[in-house]
């Protein structure tokens, strides 16, 4: 069975751990990164299936992270979960090319369902 590779980027270890615990370790290899450079490098190296970014500030800072993450031809899904609720920020992020934007506090069931759905899509494609 194909084990998905998920990268979670957060500067706060406990938030990343919480999201990892919600998605579950059963069928996934979850790797946590504490810097965006590390996330980009790791994404290229291991061909991650899903990248979860737990902040919106690096994406809104002008750096083209999406291109870096999808640079090698591989197209991982990118989810952003942050505390930012403003419509303008959400629209900007979706225009940047992210696949999902969710806000904290997050519904556990919803996040898990989204992650599972992306897994099913991946299985169907392969």
């Amino acid at each position: 069975m194909h084990r998905r590779k998920i990268i979670i980027y957060s500067q706060h270890l406990l938030s990343a751990e919480l999201v990892a615990a919600i998605i579950g370790y059963a069928n996934e290899d979850i790797i946590q990164c504490s810097s965006i450079e590390q996330t980009e490098e790791l994404c290229r190296k291991i061909d991650a299936d899903l990248v979860i970014i737990l902040t919106s500030s690096p994406l809104l800072g002008g750096r083209n992270i999406i291109r870096q993450l999808r640079g090698s031809g591989h197209r991982p899904e990118i989810y952003v979960i942050s505390w930012r609720h403003s419509e303008q920020a959400v629209l900007s992020l979706l225009e940047c090319g992210i696949d999902q934007y969710m806000t904290f506090p997050i519904c556990m069931g919803r996040l898990k369902a989204k992650a599972t759905l992306s897994n099913n899509n991946l299985t169907r494609e392969s």
Binding site: L13, L14, S15, L18, H85, F104, P105, I106, C107, G109
Partner: protein
């Protein structure tokens, strides 16, 4: 000469001992922090598993030592403040079995200042008994701002039905930061989003909370109520908040009442309002009705610097 060498030797030994001791202290501190983090991570996984457990088989988390119970409290706080939409009854059982309420209230009793506020914040994520609620009521009138707001948040979280009464009974004004903490409870679904009675209320805290709800949830249909507040309210802070909320909703600001209220603002207030409108995406044309010719130079420079002129909404 020998005495000199002895002194130098003693000084060198003293420096060496200090360096070794400092390193040891730093190492032990790091090990303690790592241990605490590992414990929290362990309990976060356990709490999430407990909340997501679909097997309906009773499962319990056991924390044996005091430090483990503290880590469990912190884990529950992290999980509860970041998530919503789960049945919390299994977690309440864990809280009861591990005596977390008693532990937290012991820590609250023996601590002061920000540390006490920290324990109070943790207590907002557990279900409290009547005795604890009485203690929190007493603390909600504390002279320390951090303590009193943490106890108010805890009181609201423990008894959401009484949230409005508790906020209206406060003898002090809540700051925007305090209100944003209450809004975070709202986002977790703890208290209802009934903004209309709040906007109609005469109480400062309730009105500010109502306006904050409208602003945070982008409730467009509330603009009539906001216009009523702008035209009839005597409190400058509430009027200012109502105007800012209207602008964050992207509503037209050219009405005579708004222009009149703005003319009563101080120069610095008008300048800060101008900055706010520029970041909200208002066009130069829309601002021309609100600001004088002199102020418009500043507004124009701001809008151009924010590169908003390409995408800004036109309100004429």
């Amino acid at each position: 000469m020998i005495i000199l060498y002895t002194y130098i030797f003693i000084i060198l030994v003293a420096i060496l001992v200090t360096v070794i001791m400092t390193q040891r202290t730093q190492n032990s501190r790091r090990i303690t922090t790592d241990k605490a983090t590992r414990r929290r991570v362990f309990y976060i996984r356990q709490v999430v598993n407990l909340l997501q457990d679909e097997s309906r088989i009773p499962m319990n988390i056991i924390a044996r030592t005091r430090s483990e119970r503290i880590a469990l409290c912190e884990a529950i706080h992290i999980v509860r403040s970041h998530t919503y939409g789960t049945d919390s009854s299994p977690l309440n059982q864990t809280i009861r079995d591990n005596g977390l309420e008693r532990l937290l209230f012991q820590r609250i009793r023996y601590s002061t200042g920000l540390r006490r506020a920290h324990w109070l914040t943790l207590s907002s994520c557990i279900t409290l008994g009547e005795k604890s609620i009485h203690k929190l009521e007493r603390l909600s009138n504390s002279r320390n701002h951090a303590i009193r707001i943490a106890s108010v948040i805890s009181l609201i979280a423990s008894d959401p039905q009484m949230a409005i009464q508790r906020i209206s009974a406060l003898r002090y004004r809540l700051s925007p930061l305090d209100i944003s903490r209450i809004i975070s409870l709202l986002r977790r679904g703890i208290i209802p989003i009934a903004y209309e009675p709040l906007l109609q209320s005469n109480n400062y805290n309730l009105q500010m909370l109502g306006i904050a709800i409208v602003r945070n949830f982008g409730i467009d249909i509330a603009d009539k109520r906001l216009h009523d507040i702008i035209s009839s309210c005597n409190d400058k802070a509430i009027v200012r908040e109502a105007i800012l909320t209207l602008s964050s909703l992207g509503r037209p600001l050219g009405r005579a009442k708004i222009r009149y209220r703005m003319s009563n603002m101080s120069i610095s207030e008008r300048k800060s309002f101008c900055r706010y409108l520029a970041t909200e995406g208002y066009s130069v044309q829309a601002l021309r009705t609100l600001f004088s010719e002199k102020e418009m130079h500043y507004a124009e420079a701001l809008i151009k610097s924010y590169k908003r002129d390409l995408v800004c909404r036109q309100y004429t």
